[in-house]
Symmetry: C2
DNA sequence: AGATACAGTGTATAGCGTACGGAGTTTCGA
DNA sequence: TCGAAACTCCGTACGCTATACACTGTATCT
C-alpha cells in the first residue's frame, strides 16, 4: 500500500511514536500524565470540567504548555478515550462464549464507570493502542471458534455497541449522562409516564404499565444485561454451528 | 404517581404543549422551523456549522429571538435529534421479523443520512414524539410475537444500538464523522495498517490481512449489515420459540 | 563557543453562548 | 374604550474558552 505518511499527531503520540530528535530541554510532561489528569477531572466534574486551563492547573503547568503534547482539545478528548480503557479481560482457558460474555460485561462496566465516555463520541472507531487491544482480543477469541474476517469484526462491533447501549440505559436510569437528563433517579420513567398516552403510543403505554422501564422495587439491573447478551451469543453460536457443518451463507 | 410537574421546557414544546396564555404578539417562529433550519445547516456544514447565530441568520431573525423557543443550545440539539427522525416504517402485514428487519435498516439509513446525529449523543434515550414513536412501533411488533415488558424494551434498544453501530462504521469507512476522522475514503483502514503489527495485535493483524475492514474492491457494504442483523433476529427468534413452549428463563 | 532546535510561558484575540434591559405589540379586564 | 399586563423580538454587553504568536531559557550538536 502507498504510504501517505503523516499520522495524525496525537495518534502518533498515543502509540509512543515520538520524533527521534533529542535537542533542547527534556519534556516535563507525558501525554499519559495529561490524559490521566483530564480523566480525573472528567470523573469528578463531568466533561464540562475538562478545560485546557483546568487540566493544566492540575498539573501545575501553564495552559499553553499542553499544546506541546496535544494539537487541540479535540485530540485530547480522543486520547482520553483510549487512556480511560482498562486492559481487556485475560482469555484464560475460557471458551469463546465465556470470554466474549466477560469481555462485553467488562466493556459495559468501564463505560458505566466513566459516564463522560458516553458523551465523547463513543462511536468513533478505535484508534488507540488500548481500545484496539480490546478489539484484538475479541477477534482472537472468535478466530479460535472458527470465525474470522469481516464477520468477526462485525460481531465484535455489535457486542461493543451492545455494551454502549447498556451503559447508556443504565446511566439514564441511575444518574444522568453528564447532567443533561431531567433529574432524580427514575427521571426518565417519570417523564415518559407524563408524555405517553395510549392513543398515540400503545406499545409504549403497555410497556410502561408493566413496569418495563425499571421502576420495579425488586429490580436487578444485571438481569437485563444478561438477557440481551444471551440473545447475542445465541445468535453467534448458531452461526458458528452453521459454519462448522457446511460453508453456506447465513 | 406524584406529579413533579414542570416538564423541561423544550420537551414540552417538542410535544406541542405550549402554555395556554395568548397575549402579546403572535410568535413568528415555530420550534419546528428552527430545528429544520438547524438540521439543514448540520447536513450542509456539520455540527460545527450550527451556531445560534447561523441558525438565526438562516431564518432571518436575530440570534436572541431563538431563546424564546429554546432555553439553550443544548436543548436545540436535543430537539434536532427528534426532528431529524423520519416516521418509522409502517407495519403492513409484515411478520415481526420482517418488520424489525425493516425497522432496523430504516434506522441505520437515516442515521447515515445525517452523520451529525452520531456526534450528538445518540445515546440519550428517546424523549421526543418521533423517536418515541420508533420505540413504540418496535414494541408493538414484538408484542404481537409474544414478547413484552422489559424483554421487549431491551430488544428494541439492542436493535437500535446495532443501527447506530452500523451507521458509525459505515460513516467511518466512507467519509468522516463530522470531519474528525483522518482523511480519504479508506482512511481508517490505512491508519490501522500503519499502526498494527502482528506482535501486539495478532487478531487485528489477521483481520486486516484478510481485508476485513472493507477495502476489498467488490465490496457490498450491505452484506455486513444484513449479516449482523440476521444474527440478532435469530437470537430473538430462538427466544420467542422458548417463550412459546414453556415459561422458562432464558 | 556558537548555533540550533525545542520546552515552557504570557499576552492577546476571536468566537461563541447567553444574561439583561428596552421597545413595540397584542390581548384581557374594567 | 383605555390602561395594564403579558409577551415577542432585538441590540448590546459580558464572560468563558480555545488557541495563535512571540519570547525566554535550556540542552544538545558541530
Amino acid at each position: 500500500m502507498g504510504s501517505g505518511d503523516e499520522l495524525p499527531t496525537v495518534v502518533a503520540r498515543m502509540w509512543g511514536l515520538e520524533s527521534a530528535s533529542r535537542r533542547g530541554p527534556r519534556p516535563g510532561l507525558t501525554l499519559e500524565r495529561i490524559t490521566d489528569a483530564a480523566i480525573e477531572l472528567a470523573d469528578a466534574e463531568g466533561l464540562a470540567g475538562v478545560r485546557m486551563s483546568s487540566v493544566a492547573a492540575r498539573l501545575g503547568v501553564s495552559t499553553m504548555s499542553l499544546y506541546g503534547y496535544v494539537p487541540s482539545k479535540d485530540d485530547l478528548l480522543t486520547a482520553m478515550v483510549d487512556a480511560a480503557a482498562p486492559d481487556p479481560p485475560e482469555p484464560g482457558r475460557l471458551t469463546w462464549r465465556e470470554y466474549l460474555a466477560r469481555w462485553t460485561r467488562a466493556n459495559r462496566d468501564f463505560l458505566a464507570g466513566h459516564p463522560w465516555l458516553l458523551a465523547v463520541s463513543p462511536l468513533t472507531p478505535p484508534i488507540g493502542p488500548r481500545t484496539l487491544r480490546w478489539l484484538d482480543r475479541a477477534l482472537t477469541s472468535l478466530a479460535g471458534a472458527g470465525l474470522a474476517g469481516v464477520e468477526a469484526v462485525n460481531i465484535a462491533s455489535t457486542l461493543s455497541a451492545y455494551a454502549v447501549s447498556s451503559a447508556t440505559l443504565q446511566t439514564a436510569m441511575t444518574g444522568t449522562v453528564d447532567e443533561a437528563g431531567p433529574e432524580g433517579p427514575a427521571g426518565y420513567t417519570a417523564l415518559l409516564t407524563r408524555l405517553v398516552d395510549g392513543r398515540g403510543y400503545p406499545g409504549l403505554a403497555a410497556a410502561l404499565e408493566s413496569g418495563a422501564f425499571g421502576a420495579a422495587p425488586d429490580w436487578v439491573e444485571d438481569d437485563d444485561f444478561a438477557f440481551g447478551l444471551t440473545l447475542l451469543l445465541d445468535g453467534i453460536e448458531a452461526l458458528i454451528a452453521r459454519r462448522r457443518e457446511g460453508r453456506t451463507e447465513p
